[in-house]
């Protein structure tokens, strides 16, 4: 072929098929369109139609007729807000610690941070019941030490809900803040020090402002996630802590009023969107991707500028205040030029960090001794030693069946999510095209939509398709939830991949497919395993969707535990929780082992 024909064909071919080049993106988009966007729209439709399919505002009128639902929304917002604030305060020091220790120390510490992620959600909630109950471990200890005379009321109230929710959501904040902190150049603090800034001044004026995008992003994620919580408030809260999701569940399961449940769901969705909108106005959604301060693009709004000015004043004031305290302390105890100084600040960070780690990691282990008790209720300390609870679990087929089903569903939905999410992540990282940010937003939106909305919407969709009560339906639903995590995790590893390796393979004569198979995927294997594990655990631990789409036809492990917990909290649950803890640890250790091995290679 001559060069002339070549150049005549090539330019003509290129522009026509551009949209086809991004084909790996479409299955994921299509899938979410069908099983996430479409049912959500259906739900919206449901909330504005009556039984005869005519348009109506009756459900919304009902919603605002009394102040009941607005009040529940208020409580929900309050719980979410406090959860966010407490989580961020607790997460910041540990994230700072992780960002500033040696790599080897960080890898060890991060396992403890992620501990709550690994242990089943319900297991953790039970652990807090064991710890904080009337005759729980904490009360036991306090009475033994003579600090209190009568047991404190620590659960079935606001405090219980806070403990449970902060414990559940804080790791999210730690990871988000950490990802921003890792991007902060260590030389900046050093530069500040050489210019005369004390460590406290350098922290307040340099480090803190640069880490704020992480704090804001973490706060948003926690707030939105907290809005959709119902397990923790149901098990650790009292009647006063009823959250909006519990109302939705009640409407569907007890009253069977779909339209009204749809309206409440919409109220929740609109609230979430409103918060996103406010966040974007104030801070810009670009901070969500973990970049620090916007790159001089859009001018901040008036509120943003005012906030910024107030923030700067606050930061300067705190910096000066801490520097003053530091100077005063140095007047009492002069630093000496001839021997290394003590690093008091560092020690404080370690103490705070370790306390938080203990809070995160230890509670789950309390279910283990309780599961061997002879008594028939949760008590501390456990009495005697008996295996009867384990016998009960293994005796009835229910638990084994539920566990097996959970396992199958988790494996299947993780595979499905990988199949859809990984190609999409590749395209999102490597191609640039119009509307890329919007598509990315769409692919991760199930993660920030309250699960209850997806659950209710899917239930409604499935009831038309005949998928209610099928394993397929559950797998599809869990894949919807897992795709965002797969996409984000995979994007992170693909970004770090050196595409020159691919180019090298191509020039050496490998086809694209062979390059992908022999070069790209093996190198990315560690990260892909992590993404798969993420997806697996999300499904394995998932309750909300299971609660709805199983339609009572079958049960999964979390659902079986939930049903049991609603009736009565017995040591059976502790035994299940212990087994689950063992199983999860095994899964995590295996995947960690596989990951490390693939890194060594």
């Amino acid at each position: 072929m001559s060069a002339d024909t070549d150049s005549a064909v090539a330019p003509a071919r290129r522009p026509r098929w551009t949209w086809l080049r991004d084909w790996p993106l479409y299955p994921a988009v299509l899938f979410l369109g069908l099983f996430f966007l479409y049912p959500t729209v259906l739900l919206l439709g449901l909330s504005v139609t009556d039984d005869a399919d005519a348009l109506t505002t009756q459900h919304y009128a009902h919603l605002f007729r009394s102040d009941l639902y607005v009040r529940v929304l208020g409580i929900t917002l309050e719980v979410a807000l406090w959860t966010t604030v407490l989580s961020l305060i607790a997460a910041y020091p540990i994230a700072y610690l992780l960002a500033t220790v040696r790599n080897s120390t960080r890898n060890t510490l991060i396992i403890w941070v992620l501990m709550p992620f690994w242990t089943s959600f319900l297991v953790r909630t039970f652990a807090w019941m064991v710890l904080l109950g009337r005759s729980g471990a904490v009360n036991d200890l306090l009475i033994a030490l003579g600090i209190v005379e009568f047991p404190l009321r620590m659960i079935y109230n606001f405090a219980g809900v806070m403990v449970g929710m902060v414990h559940a959501l804080m790791p999210l904040a730690v990871l988000t803040i950490l990802s921003v902190m890792e991007g902060i150049d260590a030389n900046l603090s050093k530069a500040a020090a050489t210019m005369g800034a004390r460590p406290s001044q350098a922290f307040w004026r340099i480090y803190l402002p640069l880490s704020l995008p992480g704090v804001a992003a973490g706060g948003l994620l926690i707030f939105i996630t907290a809005l959709g919580f119902f397990i923790t408030p149901a098990l650790l809260g009292g009647r006063k802590e009823t959250m909006i999701v519990q109302v939705i569940i009640f409407q569907i399961h007890e009253v069977l009023n779909w339209g009204f449940a749809g309206a409440i769901s919409m109220l929740l969705l609109v609230t979430a969107l409103l918060i996103f909108f406010l966040y974007d106005r104030l801070l810009g959604l670009s901070t969500l991707s973990g970049q620090s301060a916007p790159a001089g693009g859009r001018r901040p709004s008036a509120i943003g500028r005012l906030g910024g000015a107030a923030g700067r004043l606050f930061i300067a004031a705190m910096g000066n205040l801490c520097a003053f305290v530091g100077r005063t302390l140095e007047r009492i105890r002069r630093p000496r030029a001839d021997r290394p100084r003590r690093r008091v600040g560092r020690a404080l960070v370690w103490i705070a960090g370790v306390l938080v780690l203990v809070f995160l990691a230890v509670p789950a282990f309390f279910v283990i001794p309780v599961s061997f008790t002879q008594e028939s209720f949760l008590n501390w300390p456990p009495v005697g030693f008996s295996l009867k609870w384990y016998q009960r679990i293994l005796g009835t087929g229910l638990w084994g069946e539920a566990a097996l089903r959970s396992f199958v569903v988790a494996i299947s939905s993780a595979f499905l999510a990988m199949l859809l999410g990984v190609p999409a992540a590749f395209v999102l990282v490597r191609r640039s095209f119009f509307g890329k940010a919007a598509l990315f937003g769409f692919l991760v939106s199930p993660a920030i939509t309250p699960h209850i909305i997806i659950a209710v919407a899917l239930f409604f969709l499935y009831s038309r398709m005949g998928l209610v009560g099928t394993t397929t339906g559950l797998v599809l639903g869990h894949a919807v939830l897992a795709i965002p995590y797969v996409v984000v995790t995979t994007m992170a590893i693909v970004k770090g991949y050196d595409t020159h390796l691919d180019h090298a393979a191509w020039t050496l004569g490998a086809t694209r497919v062979r390059t992908l198979w022999h070069i790209t995927l093996p190198i990315l294997r560690g990260g892909l395993i992590a993404a798969f594990m993420f997806a697996f655990i999300i499904s394995f631990d998932e309750l909300t969707i299971a609660l709805f789409v199983t339609g009572g036809a079958f049960t999964t492990l979390p659902k079986a535990m939930w049903d049991d917990a609603i009736l009565q909290v017995s040591p059976t649950l502790a035994a299940v929780a212990t087994l689950l803890l063992l199983f999860m640890s095994a899964v995590i250790l295996t995947s960690e082992f596989l990951r490390r091995r693939s890194q060594v290679k």
Partner: protein, 362 residues
């Protein structure tokens, strides 16, 4: 506890280890006011460790650091009154250029008026008077480095430490900024401790060079001293290009030393009192001191065959293979008519005894 020797900076036996790795094995160094001293060495030679210890950014395991006549071994960095310029500039990304330069003044509680005046003054010095309201990321690499310098000049620190400040810039810009930094040093009379692994940069800028190798100070001296009078094989090899050939001392008489090299070659070199008959040595001749000569006309002479002639712009290099298989290079200014030498031709290379530096072979 005072040090009235008048040195701006003095270190005594500063040591630092990281686990089993010795990063710095006892460094003794003095700097006078207004001096431009460069720590030069390959990576891992301990130059950055020494700089960081002087800045107070790492605690040495032992030894003493005196700044301005005061002991400061473990004084926190914010109390040392030093300035530091980092390779990646370390400008605060969330602050404007004005706020960046104002930062050290704010830390010193200067009033707003002074701060405005001083910032404007240093921005003039670095010839960027109009960037005060911009953010660092809106400036080019070279501009960012100028701002980093301005941020140091503004509070007139006792010593300015520079850790490979031009390492991230391309060659042309680096050459320009080298001269600019040199001029700023001369005009402002500041004391600069500079770190680089680039021997050319060190020679261009420094009053004195402190050559480091393997966690120790190898040699301290002016660029000329280091270039023409290296006192070790490492120094001879690291700075500039050199012919380094093994030999044995046969005679050491007044003002001169006679060596026996491979292939029965006799070489006359500069006297070195530390050497005596029978010592194994290396002799060093700079390529520019080696000329093509007619047989029997030079003090030191070798015969060989031209292997390669390379023109690299200004300089043309001729590589000659000696009878024993070793190699010698001679360099000269490029002329349009060429060297008249071609590979395969036999040739005589010659050089004088005073251009022959004899070094103990360690």
């Amino acid at each position: 506890m005072s040090d009235d020797t008048g040195y701006k900076l003095r270190t005594r036996g500063v040591r630092k280890t990281y686990g089993p790795v010795v990063a710095l094995a006892g460094a003794d160094l003095e700097m006078r006011e207004g001096e431009f001293l460069t720590l030069l060495g390959p990576s891992g030679s301990g130059k950055t460790t020494l700089l960081m210890a002087i800045a107070g950014l790492n605690d040495p395991d032992g030894g003493e650091i005196w700044i301005d006549g005061k002991l400061a071994t473990y004084t926190p960095p914010h109390d040392r009154g030093l300035g530091m310029v980092f390779q990646n500039y370390a400008l605060f990304p969330h602050m404007t250029i004005f706020e960046n330069i104002a930062f050290p003044l704010r830390m010193r509680k200067r009033d707003a008026g002074t701060i405005r005046k001083e910032v404007a003054r240093v921005l003039d010095i670095v010839q960027l008077p109009d960037v005060a309201s911009r953010y660092p990321r809106e400036l080019s690499g070279g501009q960012q480095q100028r701002i980093a310098l301005a941020r140091c000049f503004v509070y007139q620190p006792a010593i300015i430490l520079m850790d490979e400040p031009l390492g991230a810039l391309d060659k042309k810009l680096r050459d320009t900024l080298q001269r600019e930094v040199k001029h700023l040093h001369q005009n402002l009379g500041i004391t600069v401790l500079y770190v680089t692994h680039d021997q050319e940069e060190a020679m261009v800028m420094s009053d004195r060079i402190c050559l480091m190798n393997d966690a120790r100070i190898e040699q301290v001296g002016t660029p000329q001293e280091l270039y023409f009078q290296p006192n070790s094989v490492f120094a001879a090899d690291f700075l500039g290009e050199s012919n380094l050939l093994p030999a044995t001392v046969i005679e050491s008489r007044d003002g001169e030393i006679v060596l026996q090299a491979a292939g029965g070659l006799t070489v006359h070199g500069q006297a070195n009192a530390a050497l005596s008959r029978g010592d194994r040595v290396r002799f060093m001749v700079r390529p520019e001191s080696v000329k093509t000569v007619a047989a029997g006309t030079a003090r030191n002479e070798v015969q060989g065959v031209i292997k390669e002639v390379i023109m690299s712009g200004q300089i043309t290099k001729c590589f000659m293979e000696l009878p024993d298989g070793s190699e010698m290079v001679s360099s000269r200014l490029t002329v349009e008519s060429g060297t008249g030498l071609a590979p395969g031709r036999p040739v005589h290379f010659g050089w004088s005894a005073e251009h022959t530096v004899v070094l103990p072979d360690r």
